[in-house]
Amino acid sequence: MSTSTTRNQTSIELGDTVPTVTITREFDAPVAHLFRAWTEGDLVARWLGPRSQTMHMERYDCTTGGAWRWWSSGEDGVEHHFYGSFHEVRRNDRIVQTFSYEGFPDSVSLETATFEDLGEGRSRVVTVSLVDSFEHRDAFVASGMEHGVVEGYEKLDELLGTL
């Protein structure tokens, strides 16, 4: 229940005036390693996909003008497909890409990852996802929790039932 007290905490901020999600995290690794783990498809496949899902990397050409495509599958046999393109990739510094979920094809978000060298073999990444509306941004945040959200729905049901 308690929030993590580890050194490398993940923080999330939702924009008030612009539909953004900002995620910040530090790593005990040099920025060059962090950047590699972010740009080499076989490494990305090992961490990016949702937990409890198998990630299938179809394409990951992380270069300016490149594109990516992957899908995940779970025990329920349901597949989720995602794709986008890389607008700009600046080594150890910045990646700007688009992100689309095929289940929600008319919504595309623009994702900017900024990498920072913190010295002493540490680094930080800040990702900003700019979604096309507050509604889609919030749906996006909710869908990220789909594995646990049923419980939330049930609680909301109960709660709404008492109002």
Binding site: W47, V149, L163
Partner: protein, 124 residues
């Protein structure tokens, strides 16, 4: 049905005026007149926003005759916070796996500096 309720809560909060109303109601109950005072909009417009918040279950109105103050249902907001926290934890798990990948890269490079990186040699 359930998804409808969820999206009603989310879309109710998608509007800046409604988020402002929620923030003010978090301080204490208030009447429509009190809530409308600082805005350069009609009472009807504020009532309409309140109706959306009510439909989403975020605000309730007591039956108390004329005053009918609006009350914020803080538990619904707490649920929103929990959803965001769960999203944060998903990200945390993802980055936990990334930590493992990075530890693997460190081992691969021994104690060397990561400047052994192939591509441009511009690594630090």
């Amino acid at each position: 049905m359930v998804a409808d309720q969820l999206s009603r809560v989310f879309s109710a909060l998608a509007d800046p005026t409604r988020r402002d109303l929620v923030a003010r109601l978090a301080v204490g109950d208030a009447t429509v007149n009190e809530l409308a005072a600082p805005y350069d909009v009609t009472l009807q417009a504020v009532s309409k926003h309140l109706k959306v918040l009510e439909d989403a279950g975020l605000v309730s109105r007591t039956r108390d005759a004329q005053r009918r103050p609006c009350h914020l249902e803080a538990e619904v907001l707490d649920l929103m916070t929990k959803w965001i926290e769960r999203y944060r934890r998903e990200a945390e798990e993802r980055f936990g796996r990334l930590d493992t990948v990075l530890a693997g890269l460190r081992d691969e490079h021994g104690e060397d500096q990561p400047s052994k990186d192939d591509r441009t040699g511009a690594g630090r």
